[in-house]
């Protein structure tokens, strides 16, 4: 279709759908109402299992299979992206040229902030069950913290200081561990991904049973896969070249 015809078809379809959506939305319960039946079930179940952060309880305890699916999507997509970004037959990977020049101030801020961010990320992962955040958010903070190296130094510095094998191992073992923990819970208590560990007193770090274990596992996996994913994009951009011959 021509651009104009395509726009017309879309506006027609989108318009009718938008009108139906608006009419439908008016019948929905008002914004900000206090009628949330699922919350009234989820909050006591989370408290019963000693998990202060109810979102973490829903993610890792009550609807844990969703998070299992999510982590499997993460490793499957990272694997797919790495496979799609591999150098093709007529390309080679050359040592990245060291041509970046960074201001002294950014270099200083980078070196100061990097360890800080890594500690913050580890803290967000560790306190997943009791404070906002958790395995996934902590893993992302850790990955972005590591890439401060790229901002401060240059890509060769980043390339030297983060060998990929440990991160690929972290990613694969983290994702596999999620299934293994679920299977252990199945053997232990007879239902997959059940919260099998004893719950201590409410609000403590280790009082949330398998929620804390799964948080740790997801944190490791997300840290690994984000680094591997960004490394694939960096490599494609900086060091993959067509063979000259």
């Amino acid at each position: 279709m021509s651009r104009r015809a395509r726009l017309l078809v879309f506006l027609l379809g989108g318009g009718v759908l938008a009108i139906a959506f608006v009419i439908g939305v008016v019948d929905m319960p008002g914004f900000g109402g206090d009628e949330h039946p699922y919350r009234d079930l989820a909050v006591p179940s989370a408290v019963a299992h000693g998990t202060a952060n109810v979102v973490a309880a829903v993610n890792f305890d009550q609807r844990a299979i969703d998070t299992f699916g999510e982590e499997t999507i993460l490793i499957a997509s990272t694997l797919g992206a790495v496979a799609l970004l591999r150098p093709s037959r007529e390309e080679t990977v050359r040592r990245p040229p060291d041509l970046g020049h960074t201001l002294e101030s950014t270099r200083l801020i980078g070196y100061v902030l990097m360890p800080l961010t890594l500690v913050l990320g580890a803290d967000v992962v560790a306190h997943g069950g009791i404070t906002p955040g958790g395995g996934f958010q902590g893993g992302v903070v850790l990955a972005t913290g590591l890439h401060l190296l790229y901002v401060t130094g240059s890509y060769p510095a980043l390339d030297r200081l983060r060998p990929l094998l440990p991160f690929r191992t972290a990613e694969a073992l983290g994702a596999a561990a999620f299934g293994v923990v679920g299977a252990l819970a199945l053997i232990g208590t007879g239902s997959f991904l059940a919260n099998a560990l004893p719950y201590g007193s409410f609000g403590q770090i280790f009082s949330t049973g398998t929620v804390q274990v799964l948080n740790l596992v997801v944190g490791i996996e997300v840290f690994g896969s984000m680094v591997v994913l960004l490394a694939a994009f960096f490599e494609q951009e900086i060091s993959v070249r067509k063979q000259d011959a």
Binding site: G13, A20, Y38, A64, G69, G80, R168, A176
Partner: protein, 604 residues
Amino acid sequence: MIGVAHDPWMPLLVALPATVACLLALCDRALPRRVVDVVAMLTVLGVTTGSVALLIGAGNGRSLTWLGGWHPKDGVGVGIAFVADPLSAGLCVLIGSLATCALLYSWHYVARGGTHFHALMLFFVAGMLGFVLSADLFDMIVFFELMGAAAYALTGIHIEDETAVEGGLNFGLVNSLGAYLSLTGLALLYARAGQLGLPQLGRLLPEHRVDVLVVVAFVLVLAGFLVKGALVPFHFWLADAHAVAPAPVCVMFSGVMVELGLYGAARISLVAFGGVLSEDTLRRTFVVLGLVTALLGAVMCLGQRHLKRLLAFSTIAHMGLFTIGFAALRADALTGVVLYVAGHAAVKAALFLLAGVLLDRHQSVDEGQLRGLGRGRWGEAALFFTAALGLAGLPPFGSGLGKAITEDGAALSFGHWVPALFVLVSALTGGSVLRFASHTYLGIGDRGEPETKAESPEDEEAESGAPRHTPATMTTSIVGLVAAGIVIGVLPGIRGFASAAAQRLLDTDGYASQLLDGGPATPLRHDPAAAWTGTGILLGIVAIALALAVAAAGLWQERLPWLRLGHPVMRRLHRLHTGHIGDYVAWLFAGLAALVLLVGLART
């Protein structure tokens, strides 16, 4: 009284392939190639035997497990359930066996290093199994995304082939947009019902007035599944993705992934929306979708010269037939659809693997270039012609039996145009494949004008550097699939299973009572119609005769001038399938708008 069986081991069917895939992802470069093949094959065989055990465990009733031990109390709960009724367990067996054939075929598949082919295939299998077993709407969408992510990567895995990467992107973008629209629909349902499980939604939705919100939520939730099921006008991505994906991946796409779209739409429409949308509304909506899809797919299939694209449109046409069979909402028609899906999967998988063999040997699957190159390979030609006749509904084949029973049942709901349509579509699709086979293996028929713009560029990259003679693993998987196609049609036990699967799908009250209250399942009726009938065999023969006529017309079209009339229509339809991502999204929204009007009007 058949009580509900608790089977807590069910989630291992999903966890096992995912975990093995993670370990393979780590060390598949370090391990020798044969070890990776064996590990992947063992995993898939384990999954298949587990699915068969699940099927036997479910028997004629259902087996279920509440994950994490979160059982519902008086109808509502926080947990998610995995349910295996005969239909979902049967689909798990289909997924496992197709994956086994695909991996057996790719035994000599020298995928370049670093492609993680086997790990991605195992993630793909895990995603499909999770999707089939889950009884929670959000969980289905999560596994829908997992299935999609692995499929996008597998489609574009041959990055040296420019059509593969483009097909992968079209496939990825449209399917993801469909999944996000399903999520929007889910948010609307959650706002009203406050629960996410299918049986819970089925019980809570009727407590509110049936209004525009229900219609919009129904259409939006179905969007992702209609896109995956390649129903018109959401089908455009399928031809692009199938024409370029490697043969073993196409086996999984056409064999079972596309059918899962219809399975998801069926399960949600019956269980979640059964109480708010009348059966007439569902009938009218799905029969219109099925009719348009079947006709467009069959006509487009006729005009294709690229074998994989031809088979892709044949899949779209058959999806239309399955949708009409489902739309009848009758147990006997659904029994036929279950058999038809199984038979079609076996035959279509065999044809895609044969396409892979041809692509391997001649680096092209274009009808013009392959003309006469297949002479002398009688074994391959025999397999090709048998599979093509099976596709057209030859009586001993499962697809023939499925077609006969489906058109018989659907005719009671919609009238006698249904058998005519089934015969016409089978003839057009089967005829196109027969024409291709005759051109390639017999070298007969007109020279035909050389393809002006070769559909597939000549230097289409060889799929796998396999040696010129076809290795044994490839032929065994193809022969196995064709044999399975026949066994499905002949073995009486399979018809019993199909009848149980159909009745359990329609028994939505039993589904809800077994899941939420642990009540007994209603006993099944014995369905005598699920067998070879006189009219069924007769219609099958007519379809074959028509298919041969279509093939002959295609072979010698220069001598039949009146065929010229069809060319302008064909050209306009062909120009509609542009491959432009903007077009696909525009058609997606136009289709959804039309569906909202159709469902809205059908309801009043």
